[in-house]
């Protein structure tokens, strides 16, 4: 009996399947394109029906070629935004593919979301997938003038003269509120500085000297965990923690892939510079003395964060965003912040008395990527208006970044926004974010000061937020040096970068279709393998020599030449 039932089930399954298959191919065989448009139309119909009567909510889709967290469809703030601004955006993020694969399938399929932010914008332009935004931009002169300068807009112009995308990041409105140094630095724990009586540390030699002395006297933490003087994160793309300190130590800003010598307007290769050699020589020396964590070059990002979170690492090079949020939270929970485990940045150079440019004060506009509207979007006017609203409407901006007043933050008597610890915790909680928080994080956004002239556009830049978070030892350290913000520890030169800055936005777009692109890819490969070897070498000069031989074989001159060609366009 059982058997028969099973056989029957199987048979029905197959018959059903065949019918379905035939049905499926039947429709579409007739008109595959029609089918596609039908679905698109259906979506659009939803949109249009509602959009027709203004004030109705239009649903847009967006695809971002970065991993990210989706928010719920009934997200509360998204709903509030929809009610007031008439737009709801369904964001989808990259999963398990590369940006170029994802973009490639979109193009091959010929169906696009309404908004897109891809690392492969050029491909989309080639495929006529994007709407030229120039006319729309001109419809909003206030936005046009405030968001970018004319020169900046021009950087976004494609060979055909049109602008197709807008970079949503890195723009400051009003007075800068930056209190953290969100970039790269040599970091050191405040307990080390306290122990040494808050000395001025200006050079790499002084830095390592300090770490060595501290660890000689304090080999372990209070609980007996062994201290580690210095560790290096070297996993995959995060190997910048090892790779590019040379440009900073020589006193240059973060052009990323090369150094720009402003006086001669030439591109220089920092990989072979004297400062870089000194830097690696120092690391090699420290490694052989046993002060560099032997797991440096094999640890994963998770292991690195775990290591920092135990508070045993005295110093490292890293970008603030790469470690600070997780590690500081962990310190707070375990009480290690009270033991002086927090990090402050140092603006080191190779020699004393040099200027440093670790901290960039002006905005960094990356013209290589941004948000775009696709040709599949049924209501470009409304889509673009929302994009402008995101940038120009302070209320919307506050809702995205601060949340709901009285729920996610409160306002004190002076009109300053502040958050209770509980509110701060909610804001960082994964499930709360899905239900409540809606940042539309790839839409235009501001740093700096809000239109009210008091508050910061983003909570992490709000001075009160910043101060309330500080544990006693950290505060003491700030006081001892007389600093009120992190960038003051660095003491960078304040100057405006050239219009080419940052050069990495060009090299990131190199393809292996040019010799320079091939060289760039090979150089990366070579450095990944050799830089750790150089640091671990018993004989530095020999190791460096071997590295240089391998490096020269990548033909870095091809790369430098193409970068120079780009720089020359700014002459």
């Amino acid at each position: 009996m059982k058997k028969k039932v099973l056989a029957l089930l199987l048979a029905t399954g197959v018959v059903a399947s065949m019918l379905a298959a035939c049905g499926g191919s039947g429709d579409t065989g007739a008109a595959p394109a029609a089918d596609a448009t039908a679905t698109a139309d259906a979506d659009a119909a939803d949109d249009a029906d509602e959009g027709a009567g203004s004030g109705e909510v239009t649903n847009f889709t967006m695809f971002i070629t970065m991993p990210g967290s989706e928010i719920n469809d009934d997200n509360e703030i998204a709903q509030m935004i929809a009610d007031k601004w008439g737009v709801k955006v369904k964001e989808t993020w990259l999963t398990g593919q590369t940006a170029s694969e994802a973009t490639g399938t979109l193009i091959a399929g010929g169906e696009y979301p309404d908004f897109i932010d891809s690392d492969e914008m050029n491909l989309l332009v080639d495929a006529d997938a994007l709407v030229a935004l120039d006319d729309y931009i001109d419809q909003y002169p206030e936005f046009r003038d405030k968001w970018f300068t004319k020169e900046e807009w021009d950087k976004f112009r494609q060979p055909d003269g049109h602008i197709y995308w807008i970079n949503p990041f890195g723009n400051t409105k009003g007075e800068t509120k930056q209190t953290t140094h969100n970039d790269e630095a040599f970091w050191v724990q405040v307990r080390v500085l306290e122990w040494a009586g808050y000395p001025e540390i200006k050079t790499m030699d002084q830095y390592f000297d300090l770490l060595e002395k501290y660890i000689a006297e304090n080999p372990t933490m209070e609980d007996g965990t062994e201290n580690i003087a210095y560790t290096i994160l070297c996993e995959d793309w995060r190997y910048f923690c090892l790779e590019n300190a040379g440009q900073f130590l020589a006193g240059y800003p973060n052009d990323g892939s090369v150094i720009v010598n402003k006086s001669t307007m030439t591109i220089e290769d920092y990989n072979t510079s004297e400062d870089t050699i000194q830097y690696f020589k120092k690391l090699n020396e420290e490694y052989n003395k046993g002060f560099v964590d032997p797991e440096s070059f094999t640890q994963t990002y998770d292991e690195y964060i775990a290591k920092l979170s135990t508070g045993r690492v005295l110093g490292m090079v890293d970008q603030w965003w790469d470690f600070a949020y997780t590690v500081n939270d962990s310190f707070k929970q375990s009480g290690l912040d009270l033991k002086g485990c927090n990090y402050v940045p140092l603006g080191l150079t190779t020699k004393e008395g040099m200027e440093n440019r670790w901290h960039t004060y002006d905005d960094t506009v990356n013209q290589a990527s941004g948000i775009a509207i696709t040709t599949d979007c049924q209501d470009v006017d409304k889509a673009f208006k929302f994009l402008v609203d995101c940038a120009m409407d302070q209320e919307l901006h506050d809702l995205r970044w601060w949340g709901v007043k009285g729920v996610d933050y409160d306002v004190d008597a002076d009109g300053l926004y502040f958050r209770t610890p509980e509110q701060r915790q909610n804001w960082a909680d994964t499930s709360y974010q899905a239900k409540h928080r809606c940042q539309y994080s790839y839409f235009p956004q501001w740093h700096g000061t809000s239109d009210d002239g008091k508050n910061a556009n983003k909570p992490e830049e709000q001075p009160s937020e910043f101060m309330s978070d500080m544990a006693e030892p950290l505060k003491k350290c700030f006081d001892a040096y007389g600093h009120t913000t992190y960038p003051q520890f660095i003491g960078s030169v304040q100057e405006t970068n050239g219009p080419w800055f940052p050069m990495y936005s060009f090299s990131n777009n190199f393809t292996t279709e040019t010799p320079g692109g091939v060289a760039w890819a090979k150089m990366g490969e070579c450095k990944h393998e050799w830089l750790p070897k150089v640091v671990m070498a018993k004989d530095f000069d020999k190791g460096w020599g071997e590295y240089m031989a391998a490096y020269e074989a990548c033909k870095p001159e091809d790369f430098i030449k193409e970068m120079q060609d780009i720089l020359d366009t700014f002459k």
Partner: protein
Amino acid sequence: MIRLTDSRLERGNTIMNETVNKEYKVRKPISDKVFSVIVVVFLAAFVIITLYPVINTVALSFNDGIDAVRGGIHLWPRKFSMKNYKTVMEMQNIWTGAKITVGRTVIATLTSLFANALLAFVVSRKRFLFKSQLSLFWVITMYVNGGMIPVFLLYKNLGLTGTFHVYWIPGMISAFNMLVMRTYMEGIPESLEESAQLDGAGYWTIFKDIISPLCKPMYATVALFIAVWQWNSWFDAMLYNRMKTEYTTLQYELMKLLSSVMQQSGSAENAKNGAATITPITIRAATTIVTMLPIVCLYPFLQRYFITGLTIGGVKE
């Protein structure tokens, strides 16, 4: 316990059953005792090593998120918390994903098992004129693939993208499963088929009433393969139904969380702007457990078809 010392008793015992089989052990040679020890040691070591990652994941899933960042959690949570499971259960798409995943697993297992079995039946008929050619035709499919874009275009033109059908129609026949079944079917004596044919049975009847009942252990195995494959699939959901939340799958939801860790192209620019998030390790663990639990439970049910090892599986000639 009766000690069977008389060998005549043993020989007389022709009915094979487990109880009796156990009794044989009493008289086993020394080498068997050594062998038993080796078996026990091997299996014990194996279980410990295999169980470790699973227990570790369970422990992490019950641990507080911020605390877990410090590492050092092995077999037991350090700071107990149910928060991770709460977060996972509150994920909006998890129930839709569960529904779709169960649906595709059931439908695809039934259809695919049937289709593969039928094909295996055909190519395992020794009389069949094109058995070698048909086998080759399918063997080749295991090693060639045109790439993501042509496949995408094909499915799109067939109207499969944006539908549920994309989950079970394209992968219905897999050469691997087919060949495994073929091998098993070839082990079934031809005499059965021939005598049935003499009785006037057609190929369909032979497949349904003679071969299939004998292939239960292999059917169970292949069904498990297909079911697990279906359960774990997410790439198709991502590629063909990215914008259709109603067709999301459980594993796709998990991968969304996991892939934030494995960024193949790191973009410092985006990370710096706070736009790239990393899912806490504990939530990854909880999601892993939630998605694997149901399918793991399927196994014990199928196990009975092939684990006992003492049921009459083969057929005496």
